[in-house]
């Protein structure tokens, strides 16, 4: 039993290393001017990147533009990319910068507005027990996320769709670490309130 578990783990690790080695190889080839290798990177990362960006900006057309622009910028700066870093977080960081520019242009909410909004929120407590994870709950939650202010949405997208750590989110959005923690805390409090209103 122990042997089979360790064998499975070893296979998983090998697959992971192979994928990363393969990606490094693709990037090196793309850096050398191989169009096919860059196409492979685009095909591999378009869907995960779109998922993150779409959550951030809340609009299909804008998400497509940002994904496209992110790949273009990555391609333009590919010669300067250090191939020992993971590629997807780099790509997401580029897209997050573009998304941040987008919401700054929109200027819907300032930091002061966000602070004022947070004062209205209750302290986060436990979610009601009757709120079980099912398709309907997740749909309501997705709608609630879409209604969040852009900076909160960005933090949620990077944390849960991209799987970023707090530190990575801070770098991607150019925010202090504490602001990231605050945004995430407030975003969850707002989501909780909205969910409770929906199921009441």
């Amino acid at each position: 039993m122990m042997l089979s578990v360790s064998l499975a783990l070893s296979r998983l690790t090998d697959a992971h290393a192979e994928m990363h080695g393969d990606e490094r190889n693709l990037i090196a080839r793309a850096q050398a001017g191989d169009d096919v290798a860059f196409d492979a990177l685009v095909h591999r990362h378009t869907a995960p990147l779109y998922r993150v960006v779409r959550r951030m900006v809340g609009d299909d057309g804008e998400a497509e533009n940002i994904v496209q622009e992110a790949f273009l910028r990555v391609w333009i700066n590919l010669s300067r990319y250090r191939n020992d870093r993971p590629f997807f977080p780099y790509l997401v960081t580029v897209a997050a910068n573009l998304s941040r520019d987008h919401w700054r242009r929109e200027q819907r909410l300032s930091e002061d507005d966000l602070d004022a909004l947070a004062d209205l929120l209750p302290d986060p407590g436990d979610l009601p027990d009757r709120l079980v994870e099912n398709a309907e709950t997740l749909r309501l939650l997705a709608e609630a996320v879409a209604r969040l202010p852009e900076p909160y949405r960005a933090v949620i997208a990077l944390r849960y769709d991209a799987g970023f750590s707090y530190e990575e989110i801070a770098v991607a959005l150019g925010l202090p670490l504490n602001t990231v923690r605050t945004h995430l805390h407030r975003a969850k409090a707002q989501l909780r309130r909205q969910l409770e209103e929906q199921i009441r």
């Binding site: 496209q68 273009l72 391609w75 997705a142 849960y160 769709d161």
Partner: protein, 154 residues
Amino acid sequence: MSDKMDELLAHLPAHLPPPDLARRICLAVRGHRRAQPSPFAWAGRRTQRLARLAGLMGIALLGLWLLELAPPTTWPGALAVLLAWVAYLWQAPAEGLLALGQSLLDHWQDLTGMELTVLPLALALLAMAMFALAACRLAAWTEDKSQMPKGVFS
């Protein structure tokens, strides 16, 4: 709250891109790659700063040259002469132009060695500045044109 909310957020339904988005991105990036590089690609922010510096130096030299040629005490007289030339050119353009050319030539021959050095230098600096600024404008314009337009996929 955190655990349950974290769990729910981690399982949010994902938005899927249009099926041909990756293919369109590949085509767009290749299109951008094959686009001819701008002949003014060298003109960036540093060129713009240098051009402004050269322009300011050119204007300053030209101002000093004019001050040397016509000190402020002579300005009222110079203004009267200028007005007289304008009136002359207005009344008899062909004759006036010939006379003006001859007068400028006479003045040019009267210039000292230093004045003859400073004027071309000032004019050269101004010309360089204008060329570099125009190149920066063209570089920015061609860069805009080569970017994929917004909304191309929507």
